[in-house]
């Protein structure tokens, strides 16, 4: 109920108000019983109820007009003295109760929840529900905000929610400090809202992610849920009830590292495509094949071993536990000391992976190893983003940041579902093909990763293009990839994939003829994206881009366009 705060106030104020009524009743009735005195000192009848109520009203509220209508007798003064103390106590009690109520944690929480609920109900645009706003969640929030998507945040830690409020998001971001494991909290945050697009379960707690995933499956089966899982058992559990995407950062990184060894160009392409949009391009990683040392053989270590061994890497393992020592060869220790590293054969090794769950140990391993052998390829695992400066200062050849991997994958899945299809097709291509595409993408947005986005040529997303195509106009792909402000300039954008019904066309050429209903996957800068979206949506803009003539919708529009675009006068053929 919306006015639960109001009911809470009423309920808590019951006591004080009853006390006040009783005090007033006693005072007023008492005052009408005590005999008065007239101007000559003769006994006079007591005050009437009306006068008594009037007198008590201004006395109790400490206004104090004096003795009205006539001076009181001593008996009346005695009673009034008593009344004054009584009413002051009554009022103080009421006011103190009210103040205590306003400061009450529960009451404030009710107010916050009410406000949050109102904001969710008023959301008009599609939004994502992000559960958990730690390092990963925060990165996702910032990226979604830059891409102009609305989102709602649930986070257990109140301090982090306050941080979100302080961050200057472009979009209105409702955030609540609550436990997302509770289904009613999820409902409160808009799980069943008509505009809720997807739910991201990216808390640090495996069980919480699992609970969120199953709640979404049951309460709103229509929307996708993306969940983070670290252990295979939780991932299997999530998969069993149909969680749409399960992201295990360790498995993903191990896969990437294996790929980077086996086919570096393809890995570089994937890195660019799945990177957060318009962030600096990652340095190219060229991990060498040969024998590697792996420090830390836990969950992450095991996954690395399964992915690296097929890629042609022999592993020597250093682990303090030494659980299964048969194969690969294992040495007991942390790897932070030169002795252990030498024992593991660092002189003949090509690379080392500092993959324990302790950031300080990982750095220590990396520094020691590169002192022993400067040419060594060093991979570090960074567990906490607070250690960013340390890892940046050390500058390993390859740093694994779990939060970043999860965030990248979430953004890629959410914003471009077509990307998965593209990545599937990529597996069948060779290294030179990937290398050529990398060069092309690098040129798109000078030194930054391009944004990947999809547009469907339908009435909702690309009205202008859809109408033109339905009228039987022939539009080639190369025709629309022109700058909408000056059509002689080509738009720096690459079309990666076109989906037409079930058919997938990889890297369509410029002469490719578009059809209504085509779904395009493009890579470009965010500004080129806005440019092309306007071209495809607005029929007049599309006309200009295709033919160069400025057909205007109205006289006013024509005037506006003329003043706004001097380089392209109207009527040009």
């Amino acid at each position: 109920m919306v006015n639960s705060a109001f009911f809470l106030v009423l309920r808590r104020m019951r006591g004080p108000i009853i006390v006040l009524i009783v005090i007033y009743g006693i005072s007023v009735i008492g005052l009408t019983l005590v005999p008065g005195v007239d101007a000559e000192g003769r006994p006079a009848p007591p005050l009437s109820i009306f006068h008594a109520f009037y007198f008590i009203s201004y006395t109790a509220t400490t206004i104090g007009f004096g003795e009205i209508p006539t001076a009181f007798s001593d008996a009346q003064r005695l009673w009034v003295t008593f009344c004054i103390y009584l009413t002051v106590v009554g009022w103080s009690y009421s006011v103190l109760t009210l103040i205590a109520l306003l400061q009450d944690k529960g009451f404030q929480n009710t107010l916050t929840v009410n406000r949050f609920r109102r904001r969710i109900r008023r959301l008009k645009e599609p939004f994502y529900l992000i559960c958990g706003c730690g390092e990963t969640g925060n990165l996702i929030c910032r990226t979604l905000d830059r891409l102009g998507h609305a989102f709602v945040v649930l986070e257990k830690d109140e301090l982090r929610v306050q941080e979100i409020d302080l961050q200057d998001f472009k979009t209105d971001t409702p955030a609540l400090a609550a436990d997302a494991r509770q289904p009613n909290i999820l409902k409160l945050a808009g799980l069943q809202h008509a505009k809720c697009r997807a739910v991201l379960a990216v808390t640090n707690d495996e069980e919480a992610n699992l609970a969120i995933a199953i709640a979404v499956r049951l309460l709103n089966p229509g929307i996708p849920v993306i969940a983070r899982a670290r252990t295979p058992s939780v991932a299997a559990n999530m998969a069993s009830f149909g969680t749409d995407h399960i992201i295990n950062p360790f498995a993903r990184f191990a896969e990437y590292l294996g790929l980077a060894v086996a086919s570096p160009e393809r890995f570089r392409l994937i890195e660019m495509l799945t990177g957060l949009p318009e962030t600096p391009l990652p340095e190219p990683h060229r991990p060498p094949a040969g024998r590697w040392i792996l420090c830390g053989y836990g969950r992450f270590g095991h996954l690395l071993a399964t992915h690296l061994q097929p890629a042609g890497i022999d592993l020597t393992i250093i682990d303090p536990g030494c659980a299964d020592c048969a194969s690969p060869p294992t040495i007991r220790g942390h790897g932070t000391e030169a002795v252990t590293l030498r024992q593991a054969g660092i002189d003949s090794a090509a690379g080392i992976i500092a993959g324990s769950d302790d950031d300080v140990n990982n750095l220590s391993i990396a520094v020691t190893a590169s002192e022993l052998k400067p040419s060594l390829f060093v991979v570090t695992r960074q567990n906490h983003s607070v250690n960013n400066p340390l890892f940046a200062a050390y500058n390993a050849d390859f740093t694994m940041i779990p939060g970043r991997i999860v965030a990248q994958e979430c953004i890629a899945i959410l914003t471009t579902p077509l990307l998965a299809a593209f990545l599937d097709l990529l597996r069948e291509r060779d290294e030179t093909w990937s290398g050529a595409l990398v060069v092309r993408l690098q040129a798109l947005c000078d030194g930054r990763t391009p944004a990947l986005w999809a547009i469907k040529l339908n009435i909702a997303e690309a009205q202008g293009a859809y109408r033109a195509l339905m009228q039987g106009r022939r539009i080639a792909l190369g025709d629309i990839l022109r700058d909408g402000t000056d059509r002689s300039q080509a738009l720096p954008a690459a079309t990666l994939l076109i989906r037409r019904d079930k058919e997938l066309i990889l890297l369509p050429p410029d002469e490719f003829l578009l059809a209504a209903g085509d779904e395009l996957l493009l890579a470009s800068s965010l500004s080129a994206r806005r440019n092309l979206e306007l071209t495809l949506h607005n029929p007049n803009e599309l006309d200009y881009v295709l033919t160069g003539s400025e057909v205007s919708g109205s006289w006013l529009w024509e005037r506006f366009m003329r003043s706004g675009r001097p380089g392209a006068p109207a009527g040009e053929p």
């Binding site: 009423l10 104020m13 019951r14 009853i18 009524i21 009735i29 009306f50």
Partner: protein, 127 residues
């Protein structure tokens, strides 16, 4: 036995009985309708109203609304009395008395509804 229920029922019934006591008698004769009875009825009715605060059930809401009606009627009666006796000075003429008493009659009806709801609630109670 629940002390809260005892107090609650006590005040609701007391508000109705006091109201009835003031109302009963020839409507025009001021000597049959003492102003203290009106004051007592008003005070008890106010307390009964506050006791109903904060109940979020449907029956609680109707309880509160009948009580508010009774308060409103009794306050109107009290103001009529105060105006007649102290402001205009006409005193308790048969006209004034009958209007004060009929206002309290309206409050009595609301109080009776309150009592009926109380009884219905008790009958519906399963524990």
């Amino acid at each position: 036995m629940n002390l809260e229920k005892v107090i609650f029922g006590f005040f609701i019934v007391l508000a109705a009985t006091l109201n009835f006591g003031f109302f009963i008698g020839d409507i025009e004769r001021p000597e049959l309708h003492h102003v203290y009875e009106l004051a007592a009825a008003l005070i008890v009715s106010l307390i009964a109203t506050v006791l109903k605060f904060g109940d979020r059930t449907q029956i609680g809401a109707i309880h509160l609304s009948t009580s508010l009606v009774a308060d409103l009627q009794l306050i109107a009666a009290a103001i009529t009395w105060a105006v007649a006796v102290h402001v205009t000075g006409v005193g308790m003429t048969p006209e004034v008395t009958s209007s004060v008493v009929s206002l309290s009659g309206g409050a009595l009806f609301a109080n009776i509804v309150s009592v009926i709801i109380l009884i219905v609630e008790t009958v519906m109670l399963r524990r």
